[in-house]
């Protein structure tokens, strides 16, 4: 049964955030008998309350606290207070995700060696290899019920994927399928098979999709070793005279401040909140923030080279019927510098309803954004197919999350500013992906294709990266910070590079691996 721990209990592992990283880590530790507390800034909204409506669901699940953005990206000009589309609820952004689960490739862990010196980047090799992570990928795929692994059948193709697959075949691609999805294709692990509900992003109402809310957290709670405390917004992490983390300060729902003690603190607040908490924890001992002797906290922000291509056809597609994102072309995911850029990208089906399609098309580089040009496309909604492009973007030291110099949030903490400029490699990759994506639809008779640059970011990565040398990053190959051995980074912030793959599977695999390490180090009394 779920239990509750005392504020003064300094034997606990305290995890900040309950998403793919924090929620998984919490369950894994609880299964090992480690007493674990997860502090989640958002409320607990069980799946029955999730809403099949894009706009209402965003209001229900998204992190809407004010943020700021700067740089030359679309977001800074058009959506500066909402730079990232991530969640503030128990389950974190696993309550709002497509379900795509792709492994990194071996060479993506060695980006610096494989891609070479790319001017303007802060590329670095991971202090970790694919071989080391493979057993954990296996565990993560099994835990999440990923289709196409562990004998789990692939999904049946929906209308959107049938169009993309036909186009892929015609242009000569060999690796197109409904892909590796953490959405049940058959009943598994107490959850039903997909009903092709079309709202895979908007919560987990059907319960077919894996999230920490419907899987890790209840399993962890059932051990009696895990408490999840919702609506507890962490302001900072505290430390003792030796520099060791001692606990965290948080604000509860009623606005009261509390000091929660801890033996170990793990930060999993997503790549914007994680560095923000570390930076806001600056003290006389750590003037630049916790775990920041390298100056790398908040740096190297990555968001994937994304974008959309929409195809308009003469006959109906009805892309909205089916899983939101269950189609994947893998042929372009390989590193092939002959294309004019390093790294690779995937094309994945994505549908939107009229509500969010309008917002998406409004930033298209092929449409005026209003007038007849715009409404003509909206009018043929039923005749459209859509894909999302997701590829490896380059880490740059200047792309970063910082504390805003003047603006503060409702708790008096500086809001985060997210600065981002595309690297030339990102632009070259996106242009290539636009062209190839359009060619897929052209091959099956598209009357028109429409390119859309990325909006608010769903894949936020890299702001507390792993590095072999302490001066190059924030944490080691276990996510343990170089500076403070009982402080861990447990989310996508620890990514050294982005890879082309959707990040959730790797976040989960790293969390399972980190749990093994933390339990081992605790038993050995090293932390």
């Amino acid at each position: 049964m779920p239990r509750t721990f005392d504020l003064g209990d300094d034997t606990l592992v305290v995890i900040i955030g309950s998403g793919a990283g924090g929620g998984t880590l919490g369950n894994e530790l609880a299964q090992k008998g480690v007493r674990t507390l997860i502090l989640e800034a958002g409320p607990r909204i069980e799946r029955e309350k999730h809403i099949d409506d894009e706009r209402q669901s965003l209001a229900q699940l998204a992190w809407l606290d004010k943020r700021a953005a700067s740089g030359s990206w679309w977001v800074a000009k058009n959506s500066p207070n909402f730079p990232a589309w991530i969640c503030k609820v128990v389950g974190g952004t696993t309550v709002h995700w497509g379900g795509g689960c792709l492994r990194f490739q071996e060479d993506e862990f060695r980006a610096k060696d494989v891609y070479g010196d790319i001017p303007g980047t802060s590329l670095l090799n991971w202090p970790l290899t694919l071989a080391e992570l493979e057993p954990y990928y296996d565990k993560a795929e099994d835990k999440m019920g990923v289709t196409g692994t562990h004998g789990i059948p692939l999904h049946d193709a929906d209308n959107n994927q049938i169009v993309m697959a036909a186009g892929a075949r015609k242009v000569g691609y060999k690796e197109c399928s409904t892909g590796n999805m953490a959405i049940n294709s058959r009943p598994r692990d107490g959850r039903p098979a997909t009903i092709q509900d079309g709202f895979c992003f908007q919560g987990i109402r059907s319960n077919a999709k894996w999230s920490t809310l419907n899987s890790e957290i209840p399993k962890g709670e059932a051990t009696g070793n895990l408490e999840v405390r919702p609506e507890c917004h962490v302001l900072k992490i505290e430390h003792d005279a030796y520099g060791k983390a001692t606990g965290v300060v948080y604000v509860d729902k009623g606005g009261s401040h509390h000091r929660q003690q801890a033996r170990i603190v793990c930060v999993a607040g997503n790549s914007i909140e994680t560095p923000r908490i570390l930076l806001n924890s600056a003290s006389s001992k750590y003037a630049d923030g916790l775990a920041n002797s390298s100056g790398q906290v908040g740096k190297n922000y990555m968001r994937h080279t994304s974008g959309n291509v929409w195809g308009v056809f003469e006959k109906p597609v009805r892309m909205h019927r089916g899983n939101t994102m269950a189609g994947c072309i893998k042929d372009e995911r390989y590193h092939n510098p002959n294309r004019g850029f390093v790294g690779g990208y995937f094309m994945q089906t994505e549908h939107l309803g009229p509500s969010f399609l309008a917002l998406n098309l409004a930033r298209s580089i092929d449409l005026k954004g209003w007038g007849l040009d715009f409404t003509r496309v909206m009018e043929v909604y039923e005749y459209m197919a859509g894909m999302w492009l997701v590829g490896e973007d380059m880490p740059q030291k200047t792309n970063c999350v910082t504390l805003h110099p003047t603006e503060k949030d409702q708790f008096g903490v500086p809001i985060p500013n997210v600065h981002c400029d595309d690297h030339a490699n990102d632009i070259a990759m996106r242009n290539h992906a636009y062209e190839r994506g359009a060619s897929v639809y052209d091959a099956v008779g598209a009357t028109r294709t429409i390119r859309v640059p990325p909006g608010p970011t769903t894949h936020n990565l890299g702001t507390c990266r792993q590095s072999a040398r302490p001066e190059d990053g924030v944490c080691n190959r276990w996510g343990q910070t170089h500076d403070i051995k009982n402080l861990f980074i447990s989310d996508g912030s620890q990514f050294t590079t982005a890879s082309a793959a959707n990040p959730t599977l790797t976040i989960v695999a790293l969390a399972i691996r980190q749990a093994d390490y933390i339990a081992d180090q605790m038993v050995k009394l090293r932390i």
Partner: protein, 155 residues
Amino acid sequence: MSHPIKTADTGSVASPDHNYRCLRAELAEQLVSIFRIMFPHDTLPDEFYQHVTRKLDEKVAQDADLMRLVTEGVDVLNDQTGFAWKSLSSEIKLQVLERLEQTPFFKRLRSDFLGFFYSNPAIWSHFGYEGPSNDRGGYLHRGFNDINWIKKEEL
């Protein structure tokens, strides 16, 4: 900053048809017309455009700055030709809007329209979008793979 609007200042007259809280009926009517030029869906009746205007009305009721942006924006728009908006042809109306495309007024109307018009469930069937599905068993038995113009051998 939000300030309550003094209705006397804006000459609020609740239209029996539209029930606007703050916008004068005449202004609301012109906004509907502006929206119809900005986002022409000719077969859709005014009521869907009025839906957006009502949402805007709710916002200006809470936000004096927005009220000013809208009223002054419409004044500027009307000053472009010096003739009553109603009397202009669609082509001229479009030209006037194009001239104001970069103004905060235009951008705000555009963004509110995009936010409120296409998210109105009453409009979805027009686009062939079938909306919420979980309480109807998803699309598993309602055509998730019923596309018939792509042959199986193409896959």
